[in-house]
Amino acid sequence: MTIKERYEAREFQTVTEVSGPLMFVNLRGMGEVSYGEMAEITTTSGERRRGQVLDVSKDLAIIQCFEGTSGLETKDTICRFLGETMKIGVSKEMLGRVFNGRGESIDGGGDIIPDKILDVAGTPINPSARQYPKEFIETGISTIDTLLTLVRGQKLPLFSGSGLPHNMLAAQIARQAKVLGTEEEFAVIFSAMGITADEARFFRDDFEATGALDKVVLFLNLADDPAIERLLTPRLALTVAEYLAYEHNYHVLVILTDMTAYAESLREVAAARSEVPSRRGYPGYMYSDFSTIYERAGRIHDKKGSITQIPILTLPNYDITHPVPDLTGYITEGQVYVDVALNRKGLYPPINPLPSLSRLMKDTIGQGSTRSDHKFVSDQLYALYATGRDLRDLVAVVGDESLSETDKKILEFADLFEQRFINQDYHEDRTIFESLDIGWEMLSIFDDPHRVLKRIPSEIIDKFHMDKRDDKTDFNSVDI
């Protein structure tokens, strides 16, 4: 084939059908089109859009159109195949910049000069190359640091719902996150999928106010941006994250919001292909698809950088069994549950520790990293709060006459726990030592600590209990 023929064989004006987000192109037996290849679509008005091949044979290519199919038709629309899979040019210059959901600069700063051009689909990290995440990230938020420790390289989603302050929480984590005793390069990559312009502005303003904007890369696909583009946005963000983490030693925090909107786009494409759906119309491969996003978090042997992910999910009806949180929970390393009832009580951040979990916490906390009492304080606070809530339910039914003195104290503890421990200011940045000590103050309301605080070994009680502390010890130290 000559170059001209080859070129022609890659450009088609033979769109046979446009349906939902999909476009069907007749290749007339001569197209050498690859699976996953990018296509450029030119509309009758000359507008150019991008799409990707989802299914291809000699005769037919099915293309998912990232920027929507409105205005496409079967007569004059031109589809040119670009001969490569989806790529993004990356460089350190991207820090401080704003891009749309398909990676084009939208801050007026012009195109970046790429240092490398990378495939956005990413390839799986070899499990034998992974390093188990063990480094404590102090977020300054008591509930998270004490009970749901965030770890460098972890993927820890916020399970939230509409009307809840998950954005504030994520912004506060991004602002305050630090690793004790280190001054390393960090970056935040923010991938917006279908959130409102207001929400996006909130994050931007927050980053700006703290002077962190030049450490942030924003990819914005907003609510009124093309829905299918959302399938691309997190992958662009993670490709940049990998570049910064593994080639430039950055500790990268990636915020992905909202994964529920992402899942809806996935469902839209599946429905347009008339695939047999699995639960609630979502495609059967949604778990695998999610994993190609979430599993891009982690640490690698002999690499300094890391990728920590905080995906945000708005649970439809606050329902934790909905496929989006369910399949997410099956992949991520725990979850932080933002609770509508605690929010109604006016608590911020309304994190309910009981349905929350950080799976990587156990190997991370303790002497040398946080403090030797951490694990026990955490278990004890959790257990007492759980009992306290049960007792509240019981009291609501049978009254409090039958309660023992200890039970009454536990009820008091549960209230204190919410007001003193969970509740904190949006700008309040507590050290882990402060958080643990607030814990001890609350635990000190019990008259017989050795009997009530069953989760804490006696020697730890004797050392850390507020009434027993000696003034020679520095309790603000990871060494004790």
């Binding site: 699976y35 299914d55 070899n126 992974r130 994993s291 496929p323 390393e333 278990d379 049978v398």
Partner: protein
């Protein structure tokens, strides 16, 4: 995996995700491996219609183009069976991940062709047969000390027999060297190497099945005492996310009294495999004293790795398990999670546009699950000297929304004989392991009871029955308490509540991450249970003699019962017997004294 010289036959017609259709494929066989495209990606033919083949590809198909060639290998998907499997970590089609890393770096690139076993490494072989001996498939030709705790036994592969004409003498060999030459009854000469290949979807033969009457001791109290699994048995651990499937499977992999453990991470997290890789070499096998890694084989096809290879990974795992069973070993295989395997089948089936069954799983889901668990069992192996050996299979199941009525859980429960039900409710109370002690069951108890009576203690079955009854009663009482508060109950029932609380907190709860609690011997389990029930009897007695129930359970002995689980192995017997003696010695006077 290695490939025979492959010749081109067909061309790619269509690519849809992991599924590729190729034409001009006459002469290919179902389930044969095909190499797809210029890069020769590994795939397996899963459907043939005239000259059209449908191939599931074990690597990413991005960038494949219709018209690219397809090569045939004329061999089914197979694994290499020989020395060098132990301590290794493979992907779903037996490619060693550390070797992939040497070739492609920290990220897995595709199109990498490497054999499952190291063909260069030298092994110290000692023959155990001599020229002139007659041997059958399954007979041992010699041994290689593969790890300090596992002797690799070189077997005559199944279906081959004959007279030894040559046997390698003691010395160092690589696996391609000739280990033996047999002359078959028909006079043919067969050279045997130190490894052979076996197709993963074909069960390896055994002589006959044996009864499942020996427990697989797991060191986990909830399992061993209440719902034990037999060696050669099958079990499932269903549970919603975060309820403890993986921790339970890791516990089984660590502490089961199996000689070999095959752990398949099927569509789960990368970090969990890393965890095993970093932890197992440091942990000590309680049975041999060596590092746990010395008996462990890992297969990791994580969630983000290609979905077709995930489908293959459980077959790769069970085939390796069968190979060690054939050597005469007790093997335990864990698959975390079989739901991801079923979902891989669903995804492929959807691409084939097959008629979907329940929740769009393929109609053959039930039979695939059954066939897989069928490969477990305690058997007499093939060979002149038949050996007793077993494969115990435990599969995690991840039901959507934690709802056990879904097809994978239901089809699994129809097959397996042990059901360890994880409970979201218990997990959210941090009652770990969060196994629902009333919902879970074992169908092996009647076959195992004698073992417990004879090898642990004749009282054991009775203690178990009594504890289960108390837990059952507790459940009924808890429902009442939720309505009217605990005060409304008579003292005798309060004693039951308190005893059940001890059973739950001090016996059933077991911290996987606590050094002295992670593994609990059967002896210790028995003594702990006995101590709690001894206290129960004493409490009833004290109450009859006028002591206040609340006071009884405030006794310091109750705190000591709560600490039983942390008692070191060496001190268990003396300290628990001492504790029981003190319980026996309690009288109402003890409590009156305390009042003053």
């Amino acid at each position: 995996m290695t490939m025979a010289n492959s010749e081109q036959v067909g061309y790619i017609d269509r690519i849809s995700g992991p599924v590729v259709q190729a034409s001009n494929m006459l002469g290919s066989k179902l389930y044969d491996v095909a190499r797809v495209g210029e890069e020769k990606l590994v795939g397996e033919i899963i459907k043939l219609t005239e000259d059209l083949a449908t191939i599931q590809v074990y690597e990413s198909t991005d960038g494949l183009t219709p018209g690219e060639p397809v090569y045939l290998t004329n061999a089914p998907l197979s694994v290499e069976l020989g020395p060098g499997l132990i301590r290794q970590i493979f992907d779903g089609i037996q490619r060693p991940l550390p070797v992939i890393r040497e070739i492609s770096g920290d990220f897995i690139e595709r199109g990498i062709e490497i054999p499952g076993l190291d063909h260069k490494k030298l092994w110290d072989f000692a023959p155990s047969v001599k020229v002139g001996d007659k041997v059958l498939g399954g007979d041992i030709l010699g041994e290689i000390p593969e790890t300090p705790t596992v002797d690799f036994k070189l077997l005559v592969p199944p279906k081959i027999n004959g007279k030894i004409e040559f046997i390698a003498q003691r010395g160092d060999y690589n696996i391609d060297d000739t280990a033996a030459t047999l002359v078959t009854p028909s006079g043919d000469k067969v050279d045997l190497q130190f490894y052979h290949k076996w197709p993963v979807r074909q069960p390896r033969p055994y002589h006959s099945r044996l009864p499942s009457n020996i427990p697989l001791i797991t060191g986990q109290r909830i399992f061993d005492t209440f719902a034990p699994i037999a060696k050669g048995g099958t079990g499932a651990i269903p549970g919603g996310f975060g309820t403890g499937k993986t921790v339970s499977q890791h516990q089984l992999a660590k502490w089961s009294d199996a000689k070999i453990v095959v752990y398949v991470g099927c569509g789960e997290r990368g970090n969990e495999m890393t965890d095993v890789l970093q932890e197992f070499p440091r942990l000590v096998d309680p049975y041999t004293g060596g590092p746990l890694m010395d008996r462990t084989i890992l297969i990791a096809n994580t969630s983000n790795m290609p979905v077709a290879a995930r489908e293959a990974s459980v077959y790769t795992g069970i085939t390796l398990a069968e190979f060690f069973r054939d050597m005469g070993y007790d093997v335990a295989m864990m698959a975390d999670s079989t739901s991801r395997w079923a979902e891989a089948m669903r995804e492929i089936s959807g691409r084939l546009e097959e008629m979907p069954g329940e929740e769009s799983f393929p109609a053959y889901l039930a039979s695939r699950i059954a066939q897989y668990y069928e490969r477990a069992g305690r058997v007499l192996t093939i060979g002149t000297k038949q050996r007793e050996a077993s494969i115990t299979v435990v599969g995690a199941v991840s039901p959507p929304g934690g709802d056990f009525s879904e097809p994978v859980t239901q089809n699994t429960l129809r097959i397996v004989k042990v059901f360890w039900a994880l409970s979201k409710e218990l997990a959210s109370r941090r009652h770990f392991p969060a196994i629902d002690y009333l919902l879970s069951y074992t169908l092996y108890w009647s076959a195992l009871e004698d073992y417990y009576s004879q090898n642990v203690n004749p009282e054991f079955p009775e203690l178990r029955t009594q504890s289960l009854a108390l837990l059952q009663k507790d459940k009924e009482l808890q429902d009442i308490v939720a309505l009217v508060g605990p005060d409304a109950l008579p003292p005798s029932e309060k004693i039951i509540l308190e005893t059940a609380r001890m059973l739950k907190e001090d016996f059933l709860q077991q911290n996987a991450f606590h050094e002295s609690d992670s593994f609990c011997s059967l002896e210790k389990q028995y003594l702990m249970l006995k101590t709690i029930l001894r206290f129960y009897e004493k409490a009833k007695d004290l109450h009859r003699r006028g002591t206040n129930v609340a006071d009884i359970f405030e006794s310091d002995l109750v705190i000591r019962i709560a600490r039983m689980k942390y008692i070191e192995k060496s001190e268990v017997e003396t300290s628990l017997n001492e504790l029981m003696k003190e319980i026996d010695g309690l009288t109402p006077q003890n409590f009156e004294v305390e009042d003053k």
